[in-house]
Amino acid sequence: MSTEPAVTEADLQAYADARLGAERSAEVESWLAAHPEEAERVAAYRRLGEALRAAYDPVLAEPVPQQLEGAAKPRPSARRIASIAGWIALGAVLGALSGWEAHDWRRPAGGPLAEGAAMARRAAIAHATYSPEVRHPVEVGADQEQHLVAWLSKRVGVNVRAPKLDEAGMTLVGGRLLPGESGPVALFMYQSAAGRRLTLYIRAEAKGQRETAFRYARENNVSVFYWIDRDCGYAISSADLSKDELLRIATLVYKQLES
C-alpha cells in the first residue's frame, strides 16, 4: 500500500473530467484498477456527464427566442416590458429612469391614468428592490412607528399614515424614503407570519388631482393595485400575494386612509 501514489478525491474528479495530464492520468488509472469500487464510482461520474450533455446540449440547437436577442441589444424592445431586474440594473446605470421610461413606453402626456401607471411601475420596482432584503428591508423599523410616520409625512409633504393590516395577517415592518418623479415618496413594508411581504407606496399628488378607481397592474411577478385619492397617490405591491388577496388588502388600506 505504501508504494501507491496518493490519489486524492480531486484527482478522481479531474480524471472523470479527463483533465489530468497523460502521466497523472495513467497513475490514477492504475490506482483505479486496484480499487474497483472507486473505479465504478468514477465511471458513473463519466456517464453522468454524458447524460447531462445529452439532456441539455439540444438547447444549443434551439432557435433563440426573439426577445432574448432583443435583450442583447442596446435598447430593450418597446413591445416588451422589461423585467424588473433589468429595470433596476438599467435604472442604476442610466440614473435617469424617468427619461428612459418616457422614451420607451411613450407615455401619453399628463392625465391621472398615465401618471398612475408610471407610479405603479415605480412602486413595483421599489417592491422588487426592497422586499427581498433580509437584513435591511426598511430604514426605520415599526418599533419607531411614530417617528417613521412623522418623518415620512414631513419629507413627502402630506400626512401619511401606516394603516393597520392585522386583520389581513400583515404587520408593519417599517418604512423608508424613496426618490420619486416629483419628490420624495414613502414606502411602508408589511409582512405576514409566513414571511410574505407587501409594500405600500405613497406619494404626494398635485393639488386638484382627481380621484381614480382602483387599477391593477402586473409587472413581472409583482402585482400592484394603485389609486389616487385627493392629495395622495397610493400603490400597494406584492410578489407574494395573489391578486385577490392583494385587492382585499388594498380595500382595507383605502378604507382606513379615507376615514
Binding site: R41, A44, R47, V59, A72, L94
Partner: protein, 166 residues
C-alpha cells in the same frame, strides 16, 4: 466582432446552462433575459480582452442568486437524499425526466459548479473565478454534487419513463 455580437453568439450557451440550472424553459429564458439586460447595462464595466463568456456566467450566477433569494426558495433538501433512493436499484440508467428532477434536488451552489464543469466545460479555475469561490470549494462542491446524483441514480428504478428535456 464587437461585444454585442458576441453576446448574441453566447445566448445558446447561456440558455443551455440556465435550462439545467432552473429546470423549466420559461424561467430559464427569463434568467437569460435578465442576464442579458444586465450585461448590456454593465457592459462598460466589462474589460475588453478578458473572457466575455466567464463574465456573462458570473452575471448570470449573480442574477440567479438574487432571484432565488427574492422568491425565498430555500434549499431545504440540501443534505437529504430523496425518496427515489429507496426504490429498488436497477443500475444507473438515468433517464432525462429524472435527471431534471435529480439536478433540481442538488443545492444550487453545487448544481452551478457541476453544470459549469460538465456543460460549459470550464476549467476548475474558471469556475472558481466565475462563482467567486476558492478552487478547493469548487472541487468539494463538484465531488458532493456528483456523489449525490450518483446515489439518486443508484436508487432509481427502471420504471421511469423517458421524457425529452423541456
Amino acid at each position: 466582432m464587437n461585444e454585442a455580437e458576441r453576446l448574441i453568439e453566447l445566448i445558446p450557451r447561456l440558455r443551455r446552462y440556465a435550462r439545467a440550472l432552473v429546470g423549466d424553459r420559461a424561467s430559464a429564458d427569463d434568467l437569460v433575459q435578465d442576464t442579458l439586460e444586465r450585461a448590456w447595462a454593465k457592459l462598460h464595466l466589462y474589460r475588453r480582452g478578458t473572457d466575455l463568456r466567464a463574465w456573462l456566467f458570473t452575471l448570470m450566477h449573480n442574477v440567479h442568486v438574487n432571484k432565488v433569494r427574492a422568491t425565498r426558495v430555500t434549499d431545504t433538501l440540501e443534505d437529504e437524499l430523496p425518496e427515489l433512493a429507496q426504490r429498488a436499484s436497477q443500475g444507473d440508467a438515468l433517464l432525462l425526466r429524472d435527471l431534471d428532477r435529480a439536478i433540481a434536488r442538488l443545492p444550487s451552489e453545487q448544481r452551478a459548479v457541476l453544470l459549469l464543469v460538465t456543460l460549459e466545460e470550464m476549467s476548475y479555475e474558471e469556475v472558481a473565478r466565475a462563482l467567486g469561490i476558492p478552487i478547493g470549494t469548487v472541487m468539494s462542491r463538484l465531488s458532493r454534487a456528483r456523489e449525490k446524483l450518483r446515489m439518486m441514480m443508484l436508487g432509481q428504478g427502471a420504471a421511469a419513463k423517458l421524457k425529452v428535456v423541456r
